[in-house]
């Protein structure tokens, strides 16, 4: 087991990601944040917290999406769905999808499908804490990246959170 990011580094990285989002979208008037269930929401919760700190008085439209029903592997493995919570229309909005680890790109493909159920966004961007490059199976790339890593297919990359009873940090296991 190897630690790639510590709790302090994650916190700094998230501050940077939030600032990059503000740099591109200024006051976030036409922009919404959508976290991916189940693990991406820990990143999106923190990004939204950071955005709120930097834009006092502005309510940020924030939702969570579960992609279970949009997966392409239902015949191989059955997943238990989590809650989807998008209480606003994303019609003509800039959507920033947030996940913890970008790996094959299949989850993001499913998330793009899922978003269409809530309107036609003007633009969709992707923000991830960890980008496992060279392991993509679909042509999907992030717009905001916390850290790029090279890991073997046999290795597992996991982002842990103390909110889940774990030690906050990003680890690689064999």
């Amino acid at each position: 087991m190897k630690t790639i990011l510590t709790e302090q580094q994650i916190s700094l990285t998230i501050q940077r990601l939030a600032h990059q989002i503000i740099e591109h979208h200024l006051d976030l008037k036409e922009t919404v944040i959508i976290g991916l269930q189940p693990r991406g929401i820990y990143v999106s919760d923190k990004i939204v917290e950071e955005l709120t700190k930097n834009l006092p008085g502005r309510t940020i439209l924030y939702g969570k999406v579960d992609i279970t029903f949009y997966r392409d592997d239902i015949r191989r493995e059955l997943h238990v769905p989590n809650k989807t919570e998008i209480n606003f229309s994303i019609e003509n909005k800039n959507v920033i999808l947030v996940d913890d680890v970008l790996y094959t790109g299949r989850t993001i493909r499913a998330a793009l499908d899922a978003l269409l159920g809530f309107g036609r966004p003007a633009k969709v961007e992707l923000c991830v804490l960890i980008d496992r490059r060279f392991s993509r199976q679909l042509p999907i790339q992030p717009d905001y990246t916390g850290k790029v890593i090279d890991a073997l297919i046999t290795q597992k990359v996991k982002v842990q959170w103390k909110e889940k009873g774990e030690i906050t940090g990003v680890i690689i296991t064999e």
Binding site: D66, T68, F69, Y70, R71, I74, R75, E77, L78, H79, V80, P81, N82, K83, T84, S89, D113, A114, L116, G117, F118, G119
Partner: protein, 306 residues
């Protein structure tokens, strides 16, 4: 996570964790049904045939809607418009349909045990949509979902099942489900419509006094008098049944407590339920119908993934 069974033949075969999994999955599908676009692509490569050897409005439409909202390909079959009327057996009919590459069968039949018979002969997943006087598992699941939605949980809840228990597959499925999930059940109705030894077999309370059952319960699930399954008179008249076992506004008001009224439909208005009760604020009958689609989506989704 998966169900412990490849088919849904009855609640009898389910474990409490299967029931929990179906109800939790249904909750997420109910959220899907509130979206502007109420459709997900989960079963886009699955073909489902709805085999209805017995009439149905709610169940057939509810299943079909659930299948379409999951993006499955749907075939509808009714006996009157098929070769069954030329004498083809059920097994031949099903095997012919399955040879055209159909993945799942939803079966409604007037003979108890028809889906169990089919399960012995075919490998596709089977969902029982009501078999004779045996079981109607998806109805019990949607009833349970509606009770949880209205009261928070099934554990320790007091449920009265009122009316024609003898001929009701809804009653049997509900008794299995509620007792497995830790609810208390009392059945109430005329002695001629309640089978003997229910207490010994299922651990439910039996009473012939409607008011006593209503006074005791949190939720009353009122069943339809199934005249089509009764080949001998079991009570003197519908009017007399209404006087003794029909739920009226006056009776509800005399309880001095709030109970929830459910009915699986179709309602015989003025027989088991008076109109102002069926339409009243205690009634969650239309919510049951709405929840039916979400619950059936959950069942089909979980069985397709096996």
């Amino acid at each position: 996570m998966k169900l412990s069974t490849p088919h849904l033949l009855g609640i009898k075969d389910l474990l409490p964790q299967d029931i929990r999994l179906i109800l939790d999955t249904a909750k997420q599908f109910k959220e899907v049904l509130q979206r502007p676009i109420k459709k997900v692509p989960s079963l886009r490569d699955v073909t489902i045939v709805n085999l209805f050897f017995e009439n149905s409005t709610r169940t057939r439409i509810s299943f079909e809607l659930a299948e379409r909202r999951l993006s499955a390909d749907v075939l509808n079959f009714t006996t009157s418009a098929s070769s069954v009327s030329k004498g083809e057996t059920m097994l031949d009919t099903v095997n012919n349909i399955l040879s055209m590459k159909v993945d799942m069968v939803v079966l409604r039949h007037s003979a108890s045990g028809a889906p169990h018979f089919l399960a012995k002969h075919i490998s596709s997943a089977i969902v029982n949509a009501g078999d004779g006087t045996n079981e109607h598992p998806t109805q019990a699941l949607l009833d349970a979902y509606s009770i949880e939605e209205a009261t928070g949980s099934l554990q320790g809840k007091k449920i009265a099942i009122v009316g024609d228990i003898m001929h009701s597959r809804v009653a049997l499925s509900n008794i299995h489900l509620l007792t497995k999930m830790g609810a208390e059940v009392t059945v109430a109705g005329p002695p001629t419509l309640i089978p003997k030894f229910l207490t010994e077999a299922f651990g439910v309370n039996v009473t012939y006094n409607l008011k006593e059952a209503l006074q005791w319960c949190d939720v009353a699930n009122v069943l339809r008098i199934q005249l089509e399954r009764q080949n001998q008179p079991l009570f003197s008249s519908l009017r007399e049944y209404n006087i003794a076992y029909g739920i009226s506004r006056k009776l509800l008001d005399s309880l001095q407590k709030d109970i929830i009224i459910m009915h699986p439909g179709p309602i015989n208005r003025g027989v088991e339920l008076d109109s102002d009760v069926a339409n009243g604020h205690e009634s969650i009958i239309l919510q049951q119908v709405e929840n039916g689609v979400a619950v059936r989506m959950a069942v089909l989704y979980l069985l397709a993934g096996q």
